[in-house]
């Protein structure tokens, strides 16, 4: 019997008059009865339960996004709503050499950092999946780069890369590996490489811990059976571990790509986008235009230039995950 039909039985028959009298005597209970009946409708209840989420998403995701899109179509500056200018801001940044450099940097930064984090994260996860003394301590300490606030850890890296007092250069020099100091942040290519290195260091634990969780769901009997059949370590990884870990890997990569593509703090602290724009990313350039120059419309356009790329990445990865789940 469904709750609805049960309520109908209670409300009907000989008890109807008595129930009506009771409800007249206690009107609040009558109202509650109406509310209860409404809530028993799955569509109403479902909508009500969804409402807080919809309101939160609307306020904190949809509204800022729509506002951002609108800003990018106006000549708004700080303190001035500006005029509707259509795609003029996009045309301007398209022809802006610094924007072009920032766009190229962002793709290189995201691509190399993601590959680095995935490779090292996987390697670390495979190591940590083994049994050894002090395993728990190592697992906990591995999370440190991820736990320490990015700004603080980036400042530590900044000191390590310092053009004059770099501890890395000092160590390499005294170990006899270099004769002159390495321009970690002064040479344009090295500077981009350095910010990628720091991003890999910071993001690798996220990959490692998530992949480790995935690894622990892989049935060890599969590996044992493969080993008995004479499979090498690489073959067992490639034929068993990797396929079973792929859905988790895709999800981790999805989140990581989005975060890396929109990274700001690391570059802002380490180089400010310099030298000569060699490390500018979409986000740092958007900040420079929107906040430092006060050109909110143009800044929003730079920021939203990330959107199509991120959208494509998300669609591809979600499509892939759905396909894997459906298989």
């Amino acid at each position: 019997m469904t709750p609805k039909s049960r309520s109908r039985v209670i409300a009907g028959g000989a008890g109807q008059a008595a129930e009506a009298a009771r409800l007249t005597a206690f009107p609040r209970e009558a109202t509650m009865g109406t509310v209860a009946r409404l809530l028993e409708d799955e569509r109403v209840l479902g909508s009500l339960l969804l409402l807080p989420t919809v309101v939160l998403l609307g306020l904190f995701i949809a509204y800022p996004f729509v506002k951002g899109v609108w800003l990018s179509l106006t000549s708004a500056t700080v303190g001035d709503h500006g005029q509707f200018v259509g795609l003029a801001n996009y045309v301007k940044i398209w022809n802006d050499s610094i924007f072009q450099r920032a766009a190229a940097n962002t793709f290189v930064y995201t691509g190399l950092a993601t590959i680095g984090k995935l490779a090292l994260g996987m390697w670390l996860a495979l190591l940590l999946n083994r049994h050894f003394r002090g395993k728990r301590l190592v697992r906990a300490s591995m999370l440190l780069p991820f736990i320490v606030p990015t700004v603080l850890s980036t400042f530590a890296w900044k000191w390590m890369f310092d053009p004059t007092f770099s501890v890395l250069n000092w160590s390499l020099y005294h170990l006899g590996f270099i004769q002159t100091r390495i321009g970690w942040l002064t040479d344009p290519t090295m500077a981009l490489g350095s910010v990628i290195l720091v991003n890999i260091w910071r993001g690798m634990p996220f990959y490692a811990i998530t992949l480790l969780a995935g690894l622990q769901t892989v049935n060890p009997e599969l590996h044992e059976a493969a080993a008995i059949d004479g499979a090498t370590g690489w073959q067992r990884f490639w034929r068993i571990t990797w396929p079973l870990l792929l859905p988790v890997t895709m999800v981790v990569t999805l989140f990581s790509v989005i975060q890396t593509f929109a990274d700001f703090q690391l570059v802002y602290v380490l180089t400010g986008g310099g030298p000569a724009n060699a490390t500018h990313l979409f986000a740092t350039y958007a900040y420079q235009i929107g906040i430092n120059t006060g050109l909110l419309g143009e800044g929003a356009a730079v920021s939203l230039a990330m959107f199509p790329m991120l959208f494509i990445i998300v669609v591809i990865q979600l499509w892939y995950i759905r396909r894997v789940e459906g298989a």
Partner: protein, 439 residues
Amino acid sequence: MDRMNRRKFMKVSGSAAAVAGIGIEGILAARRAPAYAQGTKLHLLRWNDFVPAADEVLAKQMPEASKALGAEVTLERINANDLQARITAAISSGSGPDIIHVLKNWPHLYEKSLADVSDVSEALGKAQGGFYPAMTDLCKVGSAWRAVPHAIVGGQIAYRKSLFEEVGAKEFPKTWQQYREVGKKLKAKGYPIGQTAGHTFGDAPVFWYSFMWAFGGKEVEKDGKTVALNSKETLESVKFAVGFWKEACDEGGLAWDDSNNNRAFLSGTISATINGASIYVESLRNKEKYKTDKGALMHTDILHAPNPAGPAGVFHLHAPFSHAVMGYSKNQKLAKDFLRWLHGKEQFEQWFVAQKGFSVGSTTDWEKHKMWEIDPVMLPYRTAARAFRLYGYAGPPGRAASEAESKYIITDMYAKAIQGMKPEDSVQWAESELKKIYA
């Protein structure tokens, strides 16, 4: 120090302002403090000063102002780099501090969101010998003052007297060519000149704009529209910069922020750098901590000098600071009364003396103050503001000038050439960027 009472507060601020027929005099005539509603608060947002002693003076002045004004005046201090984000948020939301410490040419940038403070600024200027022209150009937008000029952190070259003498320079070089030659010898001895060419908001523009002007380069013509960067003079300055950098400078400067040169100087790895007096101030604050490689106290080996002259002369881009009353503030009158008091001679003097020359006044009268007799090492800062030129020269220091500066176009023009781009190409790149900005 005498205790400040309400009447004294109004008298001091009123005499400083010398305002005709408005506010302060009216209040004084009525012998009554302004009728600010009970519980009225005034929120002042400033940067964290490089001179903590000056911030302490300011902190002590707040309760005095609160008592005399009959309103609670609060002071909040944040990192200078974070000010613009706070201003943007405050203006966008229409709420926040009543008065904000503004740097550079921000009065132009936020013009529409700032209250008109012409009455306060003009009276203060008259009372204190007149503002330096650059401060007027920065704070007066059109016919209205959008901020009250407060102070200027002057930029001078801090240099090591003993090292310069060792290479035969008995006095600081007068021209860029001489500076390059001396720098070449210093670098050969392991003490290069230290200068940033990175993306950092203070020292980089302060050095490279001044450098360009010394050679006769400029961003735009007087009309503020015609880009004039790609000139023989600018190109000459870029070519000179490439040689100067390689022969005389610490090449790590491409990645320096505003604090790197301080650390490098105080640890004895460079011989000279452009700077507010923070290096010297720090060496005085911790005398035993900083020593030369011969064991002498570092502060005894530091001198200051203005920029060398180029073919066009000597110019400086300093760091100007002003106070703006926010347009959204519901306490604009109170804010103006407070600024009249704070910028008035008696109050400003306490702060100015605590600065010991790190900041100079925005009006010319402060060049005559006795404070300058205390320490001859700080003397070059006394008249530093006379050579003050602004972003966007020869046009006005407006939004386009600000965009060019915040995008580091001029700094990067030099940085690109230093990194190996042909000087002609780097100038052409910068010119094309400026044309887009000024279009």
